[in-house]
């Protein structure tokens, strides 16, 4: 009798029912060719079982363990590349209910997308409020310079002298327009901001510490594509990012939700 290769494969993988197994085992007794084919499947299965097994022996990076436990963490090698990324909302919350355990696993409200950023001490607070500042409710918002860039620049703008470059613009599931941005200055940082009724709210901010001291293969202010920011974009984006025409239209509408079609 002839047995399909898929059936023999399923047999070798222990995926056939008892009736099929009986048929195959009868066929095996009669037919050395079937025995050989099953043997091949088994050999391959064994060979593949060992694939990548070395990774199982490696120590798991602490950042992954922290992530699994819901702890705020800098992002491993990306921390070196893209700066420290800290969940601001939870950092605040942790400070609020310290020393209790942070219940970070709870869906931080709609905050799936709103991994808020960072390093309060560092940011914008060096002098002017042109980059980021806090509003009266203690929320992190774009300072004048950044807000100007977010409101007026198109993503393709790369003219020298800009305070910030904008990366990707999109409409979030909340209906708000959001944009990624990178600073162009010495204190490289980048992030994600969304236009809400009272201004550009900073949803995520990543800082590139002391870009000049990093080894040369780390790009300086390139962190607009830091995994944290990408992840935040992927979490919150509704559809595809805006193209040039979309950005122009959104800009004309003041990046307001009212321009939603």
């Amino acid at each position: 009798m002839s047995v399909s290769d898929e059936t023999l494969m399923a047999y070798a993988d222990g995926e056939v029912d008892a009736a099929t197994r009986a048929i195959i085992e009868a066929a095996m007794r009669d037919d050395p060719e079937i025995r050989r084919r099953i043997e091949e499947h088994r050999a391959l299965r064994e060979a593949m079982q060992g694939a990548f097994s070395e990774v199982l022996q490696e120590p798991v990076p602490q950042r992954l363990i922290d992530a699994a436990r819901g702890h705020v963490a800098a992002r491993g090698h990306n921390a070196a590349r893209a700066g420290n990324v800290v969940d601001l909302a939870s950092a605040r919350k942790a400070a609020a209910d310290a020393p209790g355990r942070r219940r970070s696993w709870q869906p931080i409200a709609m905050a799936a997308s709103v991994l808020l950023g960072v390093a309060l001490g560092y940011l914008g607070w060096h002098g002017s409020n042109t980059w980021v500042k806090t509003n009266s409710r203690g929320e992190l918002v774009a300072g004048a310079g950044l807000a100007e860039a977010l409101s007026n620049q198109l993503s393709e703008d790369r003219s020298p002298g800009l305070v910030a470059t904008t990366g990707l613009s999109f409409r979030a599931k909340t209906g708000d327009y959001c944009r990624t941005f990178s600073s162009t200055g010495a204190n490289a940082s980048s992030g994600l901001a969304c236009r809400e009724d009272d201004g550009w709210k900073i949803k995520l901010l990543a800082q590139t510490p002391n870009a000049t001291s990093n080894s040369s293969n780390f790009r300086p202010a390139a962190s607009a594509d830091a995994p944290a920011i990408r992840a935040a974009v992927e979490e919150s984006i509704d559809g595809e990012p805006l193209d040039r025409a979309g950005e122009i239209a959104a800009r004309q509408g003041g990046w307001g939700r009212s321009s939603r079609r």
Binding site: M9, A51, V55, E58, R69, G76, S155, G167
Partner: protein, 170 residues
């Protein structure tokens, strides 16, 4: 609070699964660093969406599915970035999966890396991770027949790649 406790115990189960998640991610990503980044993203997403996990489902399959989706997003966002983010750096990281590295490492990993990704995922889930067909089909969100045929084709290709060149038996 009992919900807190159960969430903590799930977190510890996720910690225990990290080595396997890293292994699966290495089958997807171009570099071990990228793989770990994806594991981190997947784990963070999983914690945010724990309410979507049904405790009768296998935790590993559920995490593999999230990881796979994170990888799909990653591939898509790489495409986006090539268009929109920092065009002057678009070349970086692309095509880093050095062919030469694969060639001088004649291994099952190298052979696996050459399979089309549908087949690679099927093989990786069933043969490397040891998932049952039905669980692997669930991770990939395809019918079991599709999984089976991808697996069969993937195996055939692997067998051909791993067979020694002169080893034309019979």
């Amino acid at each position: 609070m009992s919900t807190n406790e159960s969430a903590e115990s799930i977190q510890e189960q996720i910690v225990a699964l990290l080595p396997r998640l890293r292994r699966f991610a290495r089958n997807l990503a171009r570099t071990p660093h990228d793989a770990d980044d994806m594991v981190q993203i997947a784990v963070e997403r999983a914690l945010l969406h724990l309410d979507q996990w049904h405790s009768d489902a296998r935790l590993d399959s559920w995490l593999f599915k999230i990881l796979r989706n994170a990888w799909i997003d990653e591939v898509r966002s790489r495409g986006r970035r090539a268009k929109l983010f920092m065009p002057e750096q678009a070349g970086e990281n692309v095509g880093e999966a050095s062919m030469e590295r694969e060639i001088d490492r004649l291994s099952v990993e190298a052979a696996l890396a050459r399979l089309p990704h549908d087949q690679r995922l099927a093989v990786s889930l069933v043969l490397v991770e040891g998932l049952a067909y039905k669980d692997a089909a669930d991770v990939l969100e395809v019918p079991i027949g599709t999984l089976t045929s991808r697996l069969a084709r993937g195996r055939e290709a692997l067998a051909a790649l791993l067979r020694p060149p002169q080893g034309d038996r019979s």
